[in-house]
């Protein structure tokens, strides 16, 4: 996976350099924006792929059953797994932030990297949850991808649901809006995390930073507890 991450950084750097040759103005902003979006997407993919495949391999090799037959609580198994996945997420976030420092001020890159770390931690927790609950690689990967895309687009869906085209809204419009709002309550605020504008324009305010930091802690606890509930109820 290290090699994939290095190649991804190289490709992102190369694409950013190539496209900046075409641009006439805002070269640094273009390079930063392209690299940032490519590295963020790669980070999400690598973390989820790592978490899901490693857990699936352990399940297939009966390592989970072996571990649980030892005098150790299931919560310890989960904490071990999530700690490993979190370490990978943090390492990737740190590694992917470094090349961006070429184009943007270090303080802004550090905040962006911190936000990417939080985003990848949430992705790691969701991936572990899906891998333990669904046990199959494709199902877990599809569920994680679906969750990530939904979390990133739920605010846009809320706006669309709240703006029906007809003046007279019917009860179905209200029901649809309530459903979308209810789903939004369960989702993390990923659309306000790791924004490229923090690198190209101004960084987030302290209020925004505390918002996504709180969101990360709360969501890690929520998904962690949900995973452990599922793990304790599983009959191996």
């Amino acid at each position: 996976m290290t090699w994939v991450a290095i190649v991804a950084m190289g490709v992102a750097f190369g694409v950013a350099q190539f496209l900046s040759q075409v641009a006439m103005i805002e070269l640094a902003q273009i390079q930063t924006a392209i690299m940032a979006v490519m590295l963020r997407a790669t980070g999400v993919f690598l973390v989820s792929a790592f978490c899901i495949t490693s857990l699936a391999r352990e399940a297939n090799d009966k390592i989970v059953e072996f571990f649980l037959s030892q005098p150790a609580a299931r919560s310890q198994y989960y904490l071990g797994k999530i700690t490993g996945c979190a370490a990978v997420a943090l390492a990737l976030a740190a590694g992917f932030s470094v090349p961006l420092a070429i184009y943007s001020p270090i303080s802004q890159v550090a905040i962006w990297g911190g936000s990417l770390a939080c985003e990848l931690l949430i992705v790691a927790a969701i991936s572990v949850f899906c891998a333990i609950s669904l046990t199959h690689v494709i199902a877990a990967f599809a569920a994680t991808a679906g969750f990530y895309l939904l979390a990133r687009s739920i605010s846009a869906m809320q706006i669309i649901a709240a703006t029906p085209i007809s003046i007279e809204t019917s009860w179905t419009d209200d029901v649809f809006r309530w459903i979308v709002d209810a789903i939004a309550l369960m989702m993390p605020n990923l659309d306000r995390m790791t924004l490229t504008s923090w690198l190209t324009d101004q960084g987030p305010t302290m209020g925004e930073i505390s918002q996504w930091a709180t969101q990360t802690v709360v969501y890690l606890l929520l998904i962690g507890a949900a995973t452990m509930v599922d793990l304790y109820r599983k009959n191996f």
């Binding site: 919560s75 605010s155 669309i160 703006t163 085209i165 309550l185 969501y219 606890l221 507890a225 452990m228």
Partner: protein
């Protein structure tokens, strides 16, 4: 329960259940207290270029057009209150609508929005700009786009009180929307506007021409038009 896939809930340690409940409640609170950032009219940027949209569509422009229309609609729209639309930059708005129509020429949404939403603002210049946009775009596909020009004619007549403009739109429908599925009322809008303009002689000639050429197929519609013709002729006589 041997063989069951799941064990009962009471095997879950209480601490974990409590953390789950608390985290769930805090998550709801965090999201509920985080206001949704609705884009304001002044934030509407210029639309991407045709090439950029073509690349972003990955060879399938219809979904992109549909999503862009929903994105555009979300700008400064408040349900039941259309006044905020007038804060939009109508130059940029028209550019967006044009790009969306180029992506999905068969889509009706952009022209519906132009004639019914964006032309429904208390700003005459902006209203006229949207009506003119609908008029220009109508000629690209009259058979499909006539309903929006018909609405534009109604807005010109009742909203702007500009009967010559309404007649121009109605005449465009009458001359270009010649399909079988275009209803008679739409084709004959011009006659009614001419009556309102007191140009009774022209209206009389038009109705007479319709009847003479056998363009009116339905007996009921024919009877209605004959009555209308008689009424106009009697008004002309009274006028003389």
């Amino acid at each position: 329960m041997a063989g069951s896939l799941e064990r009962p809930f009471h095997v879950v340690p209480k601490g974990i259940a409590i953390i789950f409940g608390l985290a769930f409640a805090v998550q709801i609170w965090v999201r509920a207290t985080n206001p949704l950032l609705v884009p304001k009219a002044v934030d509407l940027p210029a639309p991407p270029g045709s090439n950029a949209l073509a690349v972003a569509s990955f060879g399938d422009p219809i979904p992109t057009a549909k999503l862009l229309m929903l994105y555009l609609q979300a700008f400064d729209y408040q349900s039941g209150d259309r006044t905020p639309f007038q804060a939009l930059d109508y130059g940029k708005l028209q550019a967006w609508l044009t790009q969306i129509l180029r992506l999905d020429p068969n889509g009706q949404y952009p022209l519906m929005a132009a004639s019914r939403l964006y032309a429904d603002v208390p700003n005459e210049a902006k209203k006229r700009q949207m009506l003119e946009f609908v008029y220009q775009e109508f000629f690209r596909d009259p058979g499909r786009r006539w309903p929006w020009l018909a609405h534009a004619a109604a807005v010109a007549k009742h909203g702007l009180k500009d009967l010559p403009l309404a007649r121009k739109y109605a005449a465009a429908i009458q001359q270009n929307a010649t399909g079988e599925d275009v209803p008679l009322w739409a084709k004959q809008m011009e006659i009614f506007i001419l009556e309102d303009m007191n140009e009774l002689e022209t209206a009389r000639i038009m109705i007479g021409g319709y009847i003479e050429k056998g363009l009116i197929k339905s007996p009921g519609e024919l009877r209605t038009m004959e009555l209308r013709l008689k009424e106009i002729e009697s008004r002309i006589k009274k006028g003389k």
